[in-house]
Amino acid sequence: MSTTNPPIPASNTPAARPAKSKTILIGFDLGTNKSCVLAGSAGSTDIAISKVVPSVVGYVKEGIVDGIIAGNNPILFGEDALKNLLHVNLIQPITEGVITRPDAAKDFFRHIRSIVDPSNSSEIRAVVGIPANADQKAREDIRQCALGVFDRILLIPEPFLAALGFRDDTRLGQPGYVDPVTNSLFIDIGGGTSDICLVQGYFPSREDQISIPFAGDAIDELLQTELNRLYPNNGLSHLKVREIKETNSYVGPIRKPIDVRVIIGGKAHNLDLGEALGNSANALIDKIYPALTTLISRASSDSVVTLLQNIIVTGGGSQIKGIDTVLQKRLADDGYESPKVKLAGQDYKRYVALGALKAARAARENQWQYLLS
């Protein structure tokens, strides 16, 4: 399902609107499976809110007895929705990085606003991360959902925000510190898309970014298919398969055995998933490697050697065991000069949102888009 609403007139000039007591800036990583929101007051450098929320909306089913759902809320979000799976119709508003369930997405946006501005009294300006190469429709869908929820927005591609978030501002200019915004290659592996982006000190053009609709969710599907082939009628849910992947996924040569304990039909079983886990995650390498080399080929000969030292993997996919070493080895085997692939680190979930908040704090007044109904 997709939105068919007419485009929202986005403007850089304000319409008459009531004055709000203060302005809150939001860095919002709207992810397929998990979203991250960082927020702080305009004019300060503090981060008042930092939250990762599963990108799900649960609409409570009819006939649920009072008191089962805390506060008898008709709509639950994130962890609350997942905890009450039995009692809600669970909707994932984002697929492959773009909004596919606009009504649920709008409710999700409202929830994000309620987190950062419970009193609903502030002007909210949000920088929202979008997949590299997101088309006009995808952007328009986000604007539609933000209409009436946020006051002003800016949509910026995620891999660039990841680079901005990864940049350690306190070390800029220090000897030995390589600013990732100056010359690096970011591989942001999310739930719906893998975005690869050449970041070289200017805003990446279309030619600098490649978005592949193959990421965590696609690995889940491959793993589930393989599980169903090896262990028919296993009854494992999609969420359970994702959990297995997040705990055990790896790339590189097949490792056997990897025994995974699961409950099937109320009984505990140990399944050897070594081959299934390896095959499903290695498929990701086969997808992103050609895009990686394509972007390397677009770098100038003066910059490519330094660039090869600065390949950074972020997003949920950076937690796949061995992804850095496998990519690095493959580049080296193909003759690339001393490649170095690094992982963004444990804070990977927040880099896009952190970059978005930095962008929100740096944006000039005339760069914000007003949302006009």
Partner: protein
């Protein structure tokens, strides 16, 4: 050596050179401001009178003036057309190198020159969509120093505008 078909204008203080200079300036002014074109006949006559008064009544004549006007009008028209065609390409090329530094508001772009639209000068095909917005893929060099974030956002917004135009 090719025999000149037109008197050389290289002699700095010759009546011919002076008349060429004055006529060229009138043509340039007319190109910049079409409203001045209605007066150009009078201005050319004044220029001839000025030169004759300085260098003598027989130094240059009406026939010389007509030749000079024809030549200089063509040269200025050609230059205007060339500038008009080159400027968007130069801006696009420079944007690739310094995407947020180069920003030419539409108001500062030259209006289509009368020469380009008059039908008397050969018309060039408009640039293709690729030429207009996206420069050809090139091997990218990093900037020596990173730009500030607001400038980077400007670069993004410029790209969005180009996308929307296409």
């Amino acid at each position: 050596m090719i025999a000149p078909t037109f008197k050389a204008a290289s002699t700095a203080d010759s009546p011919w050179a002076e008349l060429v200079r004055l006529c060229r300036q009138i043509c340039i002014d007319s190109e910049r401001d079409p409203e001045k074109r209605s007066n150009s006949g009078l201005l050319f006559s004044r220029a001839l009178s000025d030169v004759q008064s300085r260098f003598g009544a027989t130094s240059v004549g009406e026939a010389d003036l007509e030749k000079i006007i024809a030549t200089e009008a063509n040269r200025v028209a050609d230059a205007a057309v060339t500038a008009e065609l080159l400027l968007p390409k130069l801006v696009a090329a420079l944007r690739t190198q310094m995407p947020t530094v180069i920003s030419v508001p539409a108001a500062t772009m030259p209006a289509p020159s009368p020469a380009a639209t008059s039908g008397t000068t050969p018309q060039f095909p408009p640039p293709s969509p690729a030429e207009k917005g996206t420069p050809p893929p090139s091997r990218k060099s990093p900037r020596a120093a990173p730009m500030n974030v607001a400038d980077l956002i400007d670069g993004m917004l410029d790209q969005d505008k180009n996308e929307n135009r296409r």
